[in-house]
């Protein structure tokens, strides 16, 4: 019975977080693959089907705009509307927000953060390593998503550009991470699980809602400027590739991590 316990390992909190979460990472990956496998192969029967075209033509224009279904007859528009704008966004957001909530607030409210902080780690290290663990997990989900899309690209006759797929996945991961680090930041400020959850959910839900409202009329288009979802997708990255909005998402992530660090280093920890 021998345990080898080195004095210090590189990024111990990151490693621990990954060890504790690989099951959930696999679960979310399966969910994303399932959603993609459900929607994308159906494109030939929808994009080429005149009945569906008529159906969508008869929908209220507001609804078509909210769901961005006006472009549903191209492979890029279809992938954007059915996955990145719907199931993919929901799945990724829930995964990111739940990880972000657990990282500080959940751990603190559970009562286990105190013991971690009593060891040889700084609070800065806790926030940074746990944020990095979420970045890593979201990157894995992004990779799974991108590879699955590319795999279904041919059979689904989507005609997507591989480079643009990766850029769009990068954009989707950006919105996910922004919601996740908002949950970390709110958790770092308040230490409360429910507030952290609310903060992360607000980024995702309001972002989606502002984008949908902004699509309705020219008068409301300014709302899109406050929507991370719009930053990611308004320039149609599956068609047009890179845009500055994607960079803005990651800039926001960095800013929020900074907020989390400043707040968490200042306050008392405990229930």
């Amino acid at each position: 019975m021998s345990t080898t316990t080195p004095a210090s390992t590189v990024l111990p909190l990151l490693r621990h977080a990954m060890r504790e979460s690989w099951r959930s990472l696999i679960g979310w990956s399966i969910g994303l693959v399932a959603a993609l496998s459900l929607y994308l192969p159906l494109f030939p029967s929808i994009g080429g089907d005149s009945g569906i075209q008529d159906l969508i033509g008869n929908l209220p224009p507001e609804l078509t705009a909210a769901l961005s279904y006006q472009n549903i007859f191209t492979g890029a528009g279809y992938t954007q509307s059915t996955f990145f704008g719907l199931m993919g966004f929901v799945l990724l957001s829930i995964a990111g927000i739940s990880w972000g909530t657990a990282a500080i607030a959940g751990d603190e409210e559970r009562g286990t953060l105190e013991l971690t902080l009593a060891h040889g780690v700084s609070r800065t290290q806790v926030v940074l390593e746990r944020s990095a663990a979420i970045v890593l997990r979201v990157a894995v989900l992004g990779l799974v998503t991108a590879l699955t899309i590319l795999l279904l690209n041919g059979p689904g006759k989507l005609e997507l550009d591989a480079g643009n797929v990766f850029i769009t996945v990068l954009a989707a991961c950006g919105t996910t991470l922004l919601a996740a680090v908002m949950a970390i930041a709110v958790g770092s400020i308040t230490g409360r699980r429910s507030y952290a959850l609310l903060g992360g959910a607000a980024v995702a839900v309001l972002g989606y809602a502002f984008n949908a409202l902004g699509n309705q009329t020219k008068d409301l288009e300014w709302l899109k400027n406050f929507s991370p979802y719009a930053w990611a997708f308004r320039d149609e990255p599956l068609v047009n590739g890179w845009s500055f909005g994607i960079a803005a998402l990651y800039l926001g992530v960095v800013v929020l991590v900074g907020v989390a660090l400043a707040a968490f280093n200042r306050r008392d920890v405990g229930r």
Binding site: T5, A7, T112, A118, H119, D268
Partner: protein, 323 residues
């Protein structure tokens, strides 16, 4: 004498609640120091400040000569901490969790964890979340002791442990003292730590009301004594024992078979009482362990009464009691 832990006029306010109202502690290096107090008296808050989990409102705290805030990672690596409300979760095994904590604390020698687990009787191959409260407490004790820290801060370490394991824990504390480590531990009852503590502080409502060595507590503590005496009359026995200093409440009763049974309480060392008894025909005798719990309360009410009487805290006997 160097101090491993020192707090000076430490206060802490949570919102409108004053958790600490000026705590002064001086814990010598290499000693075992106990703090006793009811729930909410400030024990845990004081300890959390030492680990920089909570920051003081005013006053100062130092551990190994450094403030917890400035000491940072380097200081915490030299402290072993057991939280009062220990929560351990996770699918991982006990060993994996300890390996994780070892990776974020001081260096741990490979055999130390196995040795501690064996002594405490803990199976490290079980998932943490399947462990009982007592076994989680053992895991908590192991993670506090495993890197042989200079200072051990243990909040209610014996809670949830059965009496046998409590004794093993007390052995660990003794060994820590022998190897020069300083142990600062808390309990809501003195009896759990009196066997190992050199000094105890009584904390109430965020203040240290008295500090005393356990030796001094033993001196003022009362022991209950009983004896059965043959071949003597009640008058003779009473006259014989009445002059013994510290023997109070002596009663002598005659049983139907002619045996005299005497009871009383004894303060201080039992030497005079034992020697006086030796002149009699002693059929049976029992001298109980001194009740330190009562002694603490007595010291507490003494200092309290004097503080109340004088209106200040600097009367000689109050100083004596709070030294």
């Amino acid at each position: 004498m160097t101090l491993a832990i020192e707090t000076v006029n430490l206060t802490k306010t949570f919102g409108s609640r004053q958790a600490l109202r000026g705590v002064d502690l001086a814990i010598p290096t290499g000693s075992v120091f106990g703090v006793i107090g009811p729930n909410g008296s400030g024990k845990s808050t004081t300890m959390r400040i030492l680990l920089d989990i909570v920051r003081p409102t005013s006053g100062s705290a130092t551990v190994l000569g450094r403030s917890p805030r400035e000491g940072g990672i380097g200081l915490r690596r030299r402290i072993g901490y057991l939280p009062g409300e220990l929560i351990l979760e996770g699918r991982v095994t006990g060993r994996a969790l300890l390996t994780h904590y070892a990776s974020i604390s001081g260096p741990v020698s490979p055999s130390r964890v196995a040795d501690l687990a064996e002594r405490l009787g803990l199976d490290l191959t079980l998932p943490v979340r399947s462990l009982s409260k007592g076994n989680k407490q053992k895991l908590g004790i192991i993670q506090a002791f495993m890197h042989d820290p200079h200072v051990l801060v243990l909040d209610e370490p014996t809670s949830g442990l059965d009496p046998l394991v409590q004794q093993i824990f007390l052995d660990l504390v003794r060994e820590a003292r022998e190897s020069g480590q300083t142990v600062f531990l808390s309990s809501h009852v003195l009896s759990e730590i009196e066997q190992v503590a050199d000094e105890v502080a009584i904390l109430r409502e965020g203040r240290v009301v008295t500090t005393s060595t356990v030796e001094r507590l033993r001196e003022v503590a009362q022991r209950r004594v009983r004896a059965s005496i043959l071949e003597a009359t009640p008058g003779e026995v009473t006259a014989h024992l009445n002059t013994i200093p510290g023997l109070n409440g002596l009663t002598v009763a005659t049983a139907p078979d002619g045996t005299l049974s005497l009871t009383g309480t004894l303060e201080g060392e039992p030497d005079a009482f034992v020697k006086a008894l030796a002149a009699l025909h002693v059929h049976d005798v029992s001298i109980e362990m001194p009740n330190l719990e009562d002694a603490v309360l007595q010291l507490y009410s003494e200092s309290d009464a004097e503080i109340a009487a004088s209106g200040i805290t600097t009367t000689p006997s109050a100083q004596e009691a709070t030294r």
